[in-house]
């Protein structure tokens, strides 16, 4: 709040005029610096509609420091002229004076003085005219009195070029009475206090308005990781659709369950050292269901269950090799095998968990990622059912172009029948990565900005919007 005295003096001035008053004028009449009045105007504006103030700007000429000196003492050339007596002055003496150097050259070009270089005792300066007229000073005096209009633009610009004059823009307020004009103002409170509530003083007080344009203070909170938040949403979708979660907490899997049980041949490129992480310790798995293993071996090497098979020499050594699972379908295979060992009842399963690939890393590929998988096993499922379930799933997710983000299909009989599932049971399944839709949602191009220890925590703090995933039925 500006000084109360100034504010009240200003208000009294405004009270007297109906059509308003200029702030600069007020400052002059109150003999105060203009900025003090500006401060008073601003604090009154903050109080409410006491006054109305319109910002105006005007340009006017003002003498520079050098200009003011000349207005007082005369131009440098006139002072040079004035310092030279009739008998002349040595040039060296003149140059000792503060205005000597500039004034000398100007006075010379005005032909007021002359220089006798050959004078005995050194160069000497003499007057060449009786008297002079100091026009520069007179013009500046005119300007100082506020009579700028009496000078031509050209003259003013010349003085400006000599840095004696400058054109300044003055911002002033045109102040008028506001709707709730009053000559007295109450001091405003910034905040409501407990004391005011207790003693009821808040009723009499006026409160300073808040700046609603400013940002609030960020809450001191923890954050969930964006990828895990999207995982939560996918879990939710599956649960809403009646899918039961599979136990996928086994990163290490045998080649048997990861590949052979899925009818993936032992020479398949996915089983190559370049694509899959093999384990050196524990290197091999044991304890396979023996009769099931025999059926798997047979369907690979000889066929059966209506299949030609792959007709190759299936080796248990290959099946025993431990790996980091390359897909969660290894768990689906274990679950379906388990299901086949009891009386069959239809099931819907899902899982979202880590899988591992020993592939070349780039902006969208890491050695590990999360696979989302859905599986439905029932009598007589069709391709139409698969497409229907996918449609429901991706509609809930809010993704229209779902064909491009995942894989889907019906599990082969060569996989299901050796497990012992009834012949008329079909199993439809689909899978996609969790990272890909999350990157699309959050507009992240490099997977390293989303997963792993190199992520910027600011990203974790900021990428938290829910909308795309929440507000769809």
């Amino acid at each position: 709040m500006a000084d109360t005295g100034v504010v009240e003096a200003l208000l009294r001035r405004v009270e007297k005029v109906d059509d308003g008053v200029d702030s600069l004028e007020v400052a002059t009449s109150l003999e105060l610096d203009h900025q003090v009045i500006v401060g008073a105007v601003k604090s009154l504006q903050a109080v409410g509609d006491v006054i109305s103030a319109e910002l105006r700007s005007s340009k006017h000429w003002e003498l520079t420091d050098e200009g003011r000196e000349i207005a007082e003492h005369g131009s440098h050339e006139a002072r040079v002229f004035g310092s030279i007596p009739v008998e002349g002055l040595p040039q060296s003496e003149l140059m000792k004076l503060s205005f000597g150097k500039i004034g000398f050259s100007k006075a010379m070009s005005n032909k007021w003085i002359r220089l006798d270089k050959a004078h005995e005792g050194g160069p000497r300066i003499f007057r060449t005219v009786e008297s002079i007229e100091d026009q520069v000073r007179e013009k500046l005096l005119l300007l100082q009195k506020g009579n700028a209009s009496q000078l031509e633009e050209k003259e003013k610009n010349e003085l400006k070029k000599r840095k004696l004059l400058s054109e300044v823009t003055v911002k002033t307020y045109w102040i008028m009475k506001g709707n709730s004009f009053s000559t007295t103002v109450t001091k405003q409170e910034t905040e409501l206090t407990a004391e005011m509530i207790t003693n009821g003083s808040w009723k009499e007080k006026k409160f300073k308005p808040y700046n609603f344009e400013a940002m609030g203070v960020a809450p001191d909170c923890g954050h969930l990781h964006p990828l895990m938040k999207v995982r939560t949403q996918f879990r939710q979708i599956f649960l809403e659709m009646g899918f039961t979660e599979m136990p996928t907490n086994n990163f290490i899997e045998s080649s048997f369950w990861n590949f052979d049980s899925l009818f993936q041949p032992q020479q398949h490129p996915a089983r190559d050292q370049h694509d899959t992480f093999f384990l050196s310790d524990p290197a091999l798995a044991h304890d396979f269901p023996q009769d099931y293993l025999e059926r798997v071996k047979k369907v690979h090497s000889e066929g059966g269950f209506g299949s030609q098979g792959y007709k190759y020499d299936w080796k248990i050594e290959e099946a025993k090799k431990n790996i980091l699972r390359t897909h969660t379908t290894a768990v689906s295979a274990r679950m379906l095998y388990k299901l086949a060992q009891q009386k069959f009842t239809p099931v819907k399963y899902f899982s979202i968990d880590r899988v591992f690939r020993n592939e070349t890393l780039d902006a969208t590929h890491l050695a590990e990622f999360h696979q989302i998988e859905g599986v439905v096993a029932d009598y007589g499922l069709t391709l139409g059912d698969l497409m229907g379930v996918l449609h429901q799933f991706f509609t809930k997710l809010g993704l229209k172009k779902w064909v491009e983000v995942g894989n889907s299909g019906i599990f082969r009989p060569e996989m299901l029948l050796p497990m012992g599932l009834p012949e008329d049971v079909s199993v439809i399944a689909w899978g996609l990565s969790l990272e890909r839709p999350t990157m699309i949602k959050y507009g992240i191009n490099n997977i390293r900005e989303l997963v792993g220890h190199k992520v910027n925590l600011q990203m974790v703090y900021d990428k938290c919007g829910w909308t795309d995933f929440t507000f769809r039925m």
């Binding site: 907490n249 239809p346 220890h453 910027n456």
Partner: protein, 581 residues
């Protein structure tokens, strides 16, 4: 999925019409393929090696088409065009026939027993009176390369050799000899080399060096001779220069040597069926060895009800037979009930079960024409209890002011051992045999290194940093079939100018409150001083729940802080989650 690159204009010429890019994309989709990219050699070179290298390259438009992994019959222009033309009813699926030469006996390839030690199988065929053009020749070479990279598993399972039959004379002998005893002039070389010399010559060859390992360590190397002792090839490495094919070649002798005879037959069938259309009598390659049944057609019988039920459509038996015929599976309704007889040509080695026939029927019907239905499977959903608990805990830990990190399950040995002041042998870690870098040596046995690395990467963030992670570590466990198990852990760290043990301790108290475990010795939880090299002496405690240890908390040892390139004090907590289920 292999990608096949074909020149657009050649493709359109062969298809007998032009398509817009959108139309062709649509056609691919209908046929179960994907038009992956429209590009040119120039564009590819400029993208991979920069504009300057691309200046002289061809700007003929190429279509890159993704083909299903087991559809070897679509890996070249010839097969792709044949498949599409039949699909569009513009061509009847060709019948491939084996014919004997007009004069004389069929060629013979004699396989000696020595090959058993290195590469025991071989099959061969002759394409007679073929007419090559530059484009056909290029496609012929490229199909070999595509097959080598895919079904042949980089020549390890099968290797293809092609020869100008008129430069050699049968019968041919496939045998195996000691490398020093094999001597010939290999393709595109000016002098003769022994096999031993060749192996060292090709050590630096950017292309061939990848195949050397297949036979390198064997006592004998495979080799094929003609009746005059001319070397045709030393599979799977290189052919002889003598019999190389040219644009003028009229009769092509094709041999496939293999460790997997089924795949060798598939590969030979592909080579001859794809290029027999350029023979004077199209689609009639000459067969060489009578032991094997190349060009075998197989007949399957199935019911239209099977197809209708599996696809979810309702079409007549005749209509389904038509659909299959369009997929090069010549089919007819037998008239016995709703039975369909389907003939599987030698080009369709991928069809090994009725379900493959069903899938082709669905492709021909059009996936988009199948009515979407909802399975009426009634189920009650259950969450996996461990994941349910994890989800609940995560929410409340974030509410307690900690931020969730997400780190890799794989890391270096150093991360889980040396850096934490422990020995790798004590960690019970599962070790990976083929990591490409040190980052993938082991599966993590603790979550702590990941969180510390996250802090190290975020040292510019305002302090304090409060992080947590609930995720799985992997430990060796002999009771499991694979010898290892996951263990769900909760880890939290507090990083600030002062250690803040009380903050981490407070988080433990809060967690126990959330888990309904009271602070009490015996029935509840308590902590008690422990020694652990990861922690500062006297600043580590073990967490006990109902008398059993579940984890530790404390102020990290300054050496540990330094090894993770951190500069401030840090307190941490790591405990098992599974005991609380």
């Amino acid at each position: 999925m292999p990608t096949v690159g074909v020149k657009r204009d050649l493709l359109f010429k062969a298809l007998g019409r032009t398509y817009t890019d959108e139309e062709f994309d649509e056609l691919c989709f209908e046929f179960g393929l994907e038009l992956d990219e429209i590009t040119s050699e120039k564009e590819i070179i400029s993208r991979e090696q920069g504009d300057s290298k691309a200046s002289g390259a061809s700007d003929i438009i190429l279509y890159k088409i993704d083909v299903p992994a087991n559809r070897y019959d679509l890996l070249c222009l010839e097969g792709l065009v044949r498949g599409l033309q039949v699909f569009k009813n513009k061509l009847e699926a060709p019948r491939y026939r084996r014919v004997s030469p007009v004069n004389g006996e069929p060629q013979k390839l004699i396989i000696t027993k020595e090959t058993a030690a290195v590469r025991p199988f071989a099959v061969a065929a002759v394409l007679r009176n073929i007419t090559f053009t530059q484009e056909r020749y290029d496609s012929f070479i490229e199909l070999q390369e595509k097959l080598h990279q895919n079904i042949c598993r980089k020549r390890s399972l099968v290797a293809i050799g092609t020869h100008d039959l008129d430069t050699i004379s049968g019968p041919f002998t496939y045998t195996a000899k000691a490398p020093g005893d094999i001597c010939f002039r290999p393709l595109n070389q000016t002098k003769e080399y022994t096999a031993t010399q060749l192996m060292s010559l090709y050590k630096t060859d950017s292309h061939l060096r990848h195949y050397l390992h297949i036979i390198e360590d064997k006592p004998v190397y495979p080799v094929i001779y003609d009746s005059n002792g001319i070397v045709l090839s030393m599979p799977p490495i290189i052919n002889g220069d003598h019999s190389k094919i040219t644009l003028k070649t009229k009769n092509v002798f094709i041999e496939c040597t293999a460790t997997d005879v089924t795949k060798a037959k598939i590969v030979l069938d592909m080579m001859v069926t794809m290029f027999s259309e350029y023979c004077s009598q199209p689609f009639t390659p000459f067969k060489v060895l009578l032991v094997f049944q190349e060009l075998a057609y197989r007949t399957e019988r199935l019911s239209s009800e099977f197809i209708n039920c599996k696809v979810g459509i309702n079409e007549s038996t005749e209509k389904i037979a038509q659909l299959l015929t369009r997929m090069c599976l010549r089919s007819r309704a037998t008239g016995v009930g709703d039975e369909i007889e389907v003939e599987i040509p030698p080009t369709r080695s991928d069809v090994i079960h009725a379900c493959d026939i069903m899938e082709d029927a669905a492709v021909a019907y059009g996936f988009n024409n199948i009515t979407r239905t909802t399975p009426r499977t009634y189920t009650v959903a259950h969450q996996f209890p461990l994941n349910k608990l994890t989800e609940l805990l995560r929410q409340d830990l974030a509410a307690a002011g900690f931020t969730e990190a997400l780190n890799f399950a794989l890391c270096s040995q150093e991360d889980i051992a040396d850096k934490l002041g422990k020995k790798i042998s004590e960690t019970k870690a599962a070790h990976i045999s083929n990591p490409k870098t040190a980052e993938f040596q082991v599966a993590r046995t603790t979550l702590l290194p990941g969180l510390l690395k996250t802090i190290a990467a975020n040292r510019k963030m305002p302090l304090p940093l409060k992080l947590f992670e609930i995720s799985d570590v992997v430990l060796q466990d002999e009771t499991k079939d694979v010898g290892a198990r996951n263990s769900r852990r909760f880890c939290a760290v507090y990083y600030n100018k002062s250690p803040g043990f009380e903050v981490i301790h407070g988080l433990l108290d809060r967690t126990m409150q959330l888990l309904d475990v009271k602070s009490a010795r015996g029935e509840g939880y308590h902590i008690q001083a422990a020694d652990d090299p990861t922690f500062f002496p006297g600043r580590c405690a073990e967490i006990f729940v109902q008398g059993k240890s579940v984890g530790r908390l404390g102020v990290l040892h300054p050496d540990v802080i330094n090894r993770f390139e951190l500069t401030m004090p840090c307190s941490a907590l790591e405990m098992d989650v599974e005991p609380f289920l």
